[in-house]
Amino acid sequence: MQDLINIFVRSIFIDNMIFAYFLGMCSYLAVSKTVKTSNGLGLAVIFVLIITVPVNFLINKYLLSPGALSFISPAFANVDLGFLSFIIFIAVIAAIVQLVEMVVEKFLPSLYNSLGIFLPLIAVNCAIMGASLFMQERGLQTFGESFFFAFGSGIGWWLAIISIAAIREKLSYSNIPKPLHGAGIAFIITGLMSIAFMSFLGITI
C-alpha cells in the first residue's frame, strides 16, 4: 500500500509528464486557451491512461518481456519479443481509444459530448504512449502499480493543463512584448511552472 501511494504521488508531482518529461506538449500548448476545454482534454487523458497502461502492462508482462512466453511451453523460455513493444503499444492505444470512444458515445452521451473531439486526438498524444513506455522501462512489477502510475500521471497532466489555461486566460489582459504572444510566452510560463514543481523533488512518503 505504501509504495502504491508513493508511486501515485511521485507521478503527479515529481515525474510530472509535462514539467519533467515534456510529454503531450503539442496538445498542451494547442488546447490550453480556456479552462473549460482544457478540463475536458485533461479528463479524457486520465480516462484513457488508466485503461491503456494496465492493458499494456499485462501484454508486456505476459507476452513481450524476455521469457514471458514460457507459460505456454518451456521451449519459449528464451524468446524475447521486446522489440515489438513499440508497434504493439501503439496498436493497443489506437484500438482502445477507438473502443472507449464508441462505448462512451453509446452509454455516457453527456460525457461524450463534453470530451467530444478530444478522444480521437488522444491516440497520438505523446503522454499516453510515454506512460506505457515508462511503465516498461521502469519495470513496474504489479498490476496495481501500473494502475496507480497511470492514474497519477494522468492527474499530473490534467493539473498542468488546467493551470496553464488559467494563467493564459488572465494573460490576455497583460502587456507582453508582441513577438512573445501565443506560443512564446506559453513556453516561458511552462518553464517557470516547471521550476515551481521542482520544489517537490525529494518527497517520499
Binding site: F22, C26, C126, H181, A183
Partner: protein, 218 residues
Amino acid sequence: MDENKPVRESIFSKTNLKPLTDPLSNNNPVIVLILGICSALAVTAKLKPAIVMAISVTVVVALSNLIYSLIRKTVPPSIRIIVQLVIVSFLVILVDQILKAFVYDVSKQLSVFVGLIITNCMIMGRLEAFASNNSPWASFLDGIGNGAGYGLILIIVAFVRELLGSGTLLGYQIIPQAFYNAGYVNNGLMILPPMALILIGVIIWIHRSFNKELIDKN
C-alpha cells in the same frame, strides 16, 4: 528516385527545393508550427543525444513521407491513420534497433524518447498535410527539410544548455580551467528541464522579432 527526373522539371528545381528550405525558418515545425515538442526537449541537456535524436527523426520523417506518398493512392481514407502509425512504428523500431547496436550509451540516454518518435505530432502532421497529396520525391525532400528544421532547434538548445550547463561540447571541455580558477561556475539550472522550455520561448521571441509576419494577432 532519379527515374522520375525527365518527366517533369529537374529534381532540384525551385518548386522541389521549397519544401526543403521552407521548414528551416518560416515554416519551422518546432518554433512556428509548435509540433513535435513532446520528444524534443527532454534530450537536449547534452549535445550528443540531441544530434542523434535529430538524425533519427529526420530519417524517420523522410522515409515515412516517401513510403506513405508511394502508397497514398491505394490507402482508403478511413484507415489512413492506422496505416501511417504502422509505417512510422516500423521505421522507429528499425532506428531503435540500429541505435542499440551501434551507439548503445546514447540509446540508453534517449531511453523512451526513441519510442516516442512514433507519436511525434510533426511526423503525423507531415504525412497528413504533405505526403498524402504530393509526389514521392517532393515528400522525401519535405521530410528531410522538416527533420532538419526540427534538428536545428534541438541542436541550438542543446548547444546552449551543454555549453553553459556543463562547460563542455560533445563531452570536450570548452570553457578553460583558468575561468573556473577565476571564479566562473557552471550554471546548474541549464541542466534541469525547465531551461529547455525557457530557451525555446526565447528562440521563438528572437525569431518572431525578425519575422514580423509570424506574430500572433490576438
